[in-house]
Amino acid sequence: MSDLPRETEARVLAFLDDELSPAEREEVLKMIDSDPSVAEYVRLQRQIDNSVRRLFRPPAIDPVFLQRIASRYQAASGDTVAVAAARPARRQLYAAMLATAASIALAVLGIRSVFTGDEVTIAYRERPLVEVYQQCVEEGFEPYWVCDDPALFAATFERRQGVRLALTELADDQRMLGLAYLAGISRESTSLLATVAGEQTIVFIDKIDRDWHPSTGEFEEAELHVSRWERFGLVFYQVAPPGTPLLTEAFDIVTDGANPGGGTTSVEDDAK
């Protein structure tokens, strides 16, 4: 498609942005009617704009995140933020007001989220976890996010898996590299990249009801082993070379009475 003359293009773009006076608008409409190249330009630009809107529709804000702001605010207000000291009764009032605001936001955004955010669902494809692991290794075994802040770490899992996870103190030969979104169990799975006893290890974490039970056990050709366990209402799949110690005790939850607790179920690693 050839470009329009600069002046014409500027007027057409202003027309599309609704920036023209009625008289100017009328002139451009006449151009569209009489000049096929202008009509084509307008049509294509509208298509592009619609495509951009489909591709980059912002998600709804997570109501849990709003609650996180409240607790962080209270933690920060004693240090660096100039806020009048709140008496305990007022803190409770603020918390109640924020909870109300969050509920209202949830009600509004809950409706809005039908038409926004992930309305266009990414086509998740089930594939063996060893394949996901191998692709990650081929691409450099790099996390998307080195999350050093325990609060953000917990908030990420809360947003994606509904449970605030924390890392326990790791053994000397265990090193957490960071988080990645490799899918694995579902589109929303969170992956944790680590080295354990010198071996590259991925732990895929997701809600139990999203588990489609990928194969576990020994994968001789890939020289990998897949193990599965459940804890805190979540499912964990660890993929690593055979003999790599499991990270079953590497996770804990930030409890506030709302999160499920519970021990680890028995590890499955031979249900191939």
Partner: protein, 186 residues
Amino acid sequence: MDALDEQEFAGLVSEAYPRLWTVAAAVVGDRHRAEDIVQEAVMVGLTRLATYERGTNFVAWMSQIVRYTALNARKSEQKRKAEPIDGHQLVEQDAGRSSATASETFRGVLGENQAEFDDHVAKAINALDPDRRACLLLRILHNHSYGEIAQQLGMPKGTVESHVHRAKAALRKALPDRQPGGPGDE
């Protein structure tokens, strides 16, 4: 002047969230990372609340923090990977990553031609410079004026206008020559 209280801050963040997300997504090049970035940036904003003047443009103030946080994240990521961001990353990064294109992504909802069109647009957008991309997305998604975008991103208005026009031209140029009867408007 008193700093914002938590209810006010949360309310402003909630209202600004779509625009903040757009800035983060434009800079960092990843939908999911954009949510993380905005959350990180909001936490940073909490520690800097004393620098926000009540009644001034909260979106602009918060957008600067989001942009800075996203740029840092992008730099760290590029440093680790030592390669530019993949052209598809902004649309689809996780499920099946490199094997999924925007056309596969949207095929279940849209027609085949439209999915392919979206794929071309996605690639072209990902090839843009982050600032240019941010200007374009704020213009199209949120219908901001050039002045509003300029204020939000801390750029001269003329620069914003130039970015948007050049971004649109780049997208048009990146599309294959259309055949008669190609994808229609939504």
